[in-house]
Amino acid sequence: MTGVPLTHILFVSTALFFIGMYGLFTRRNMITMLMSIELMLNSVNINFVAFNKYLFPDKLDGIFFTIFIITIAAAEAAVAIAIIINLYRSHQSIDVEDATEMKF
């Protein structure tokens, strides 16, 4: 624990964020895009916990932010999957290129 500087943990979380961003750019299937968003949210959680542990070890605020982010991510995933299932019912596809009704 003392041997690992804070910047290495931040590098891991940054790399995970950009892996998620790469997935969001290349994928066109809604479920896999949702999975990429989950990876990005998790990298932010790692950041909060690492900052709390290394910079402010006497406080707990980073832990609370992490818990709230996990809660909101769960709600977001549930709503997104409900929308995806409804879209699949009407379009028989969950590819974002096929949902073009609101494209100008």
């Binding site: 290495h8 790469y22 989950e38 832990i63």
Partner: protein
């Protein structure tokens, strides 16, 4: 290099490798399973940082909840054995470039910034402390966000049921009927 540092680098390599596989696998079911491994790796990183409560919440909510939900929706919406088409080469190249430059810029900012370490106090997270501060109404309490988040979760769950509910065919026109009418 101490044993703890070796464990940290092993966990990091594991979660980054499975994360890359999760966003590049062409089989969608395998991508979901790689995502599962990546989330377990993140929980291991929380255990390594000695925040056991967050690690437990991560395993319960993500591994036990969200990934299972994603796998169910994969089964509901498409054939799990079907291969997804690979993204076009141009899009792959530019996405890799965007991610690489973003990573380079962010890591440059991180490494230039000298973080002042905390005042050397040990980092102890007791679950009772988390509970006390979460529900305290004093200055640093989190009772208001807690209540707001609970209402948000309730609203989201009700909204999910309403969205995913099958509409009655006779009184609500389905999109196919409207297409025929228009």
């Amino acid at each position: 290099m101490s044993a703890s540092a070796i464990i940290f680098y092993a966990i990091s390599a594991f979660l980054l490798g499975t994360g890359i596989l999760a966003v590049t696998a062409t089989n969608i079911f395998r991508a979901a399973i790689w995502l599962l491994f990546s989330l377990v790796g993140i929980a291991a990183l929380y255990f390594w940082m000695q925040v056991e409560f967050v690690a437990a919440v991560q395993i319960i909510v993500y591994v036990g909840g969200i990934v299972i939900l994603i796998i169910f929706s994969i089964f509901l919406t498409q054939q799990s054995g079907k291969e997804m088409p690979k993204p076009p080469l141009q899009r792959t190249i530019f996405s890799v470039l965007a991610a690489a430059f973003g990573l380079a810029l962010t890591y440059l900012l991180i490494s230039e910034n000298g973080f002042t370490d905390g005042n050397g106090q040990p980092f102890k997270v007791a679950v009772s402390d988390i509970g006390m501060q979460m529900l305290s109404t004093t200055e640093h309490g989190y009772i208001l966000p807690f209540e707001v988040v609970s209402m948000l979760l309730l609203a989201a769950m009700v909204g999910c049921i309403v969205i995913a509910m099958k509409s009655k065919q006779n009184n609500l026109p389905s999109p196919k009927n409207t297409e025929e009418l228009s």
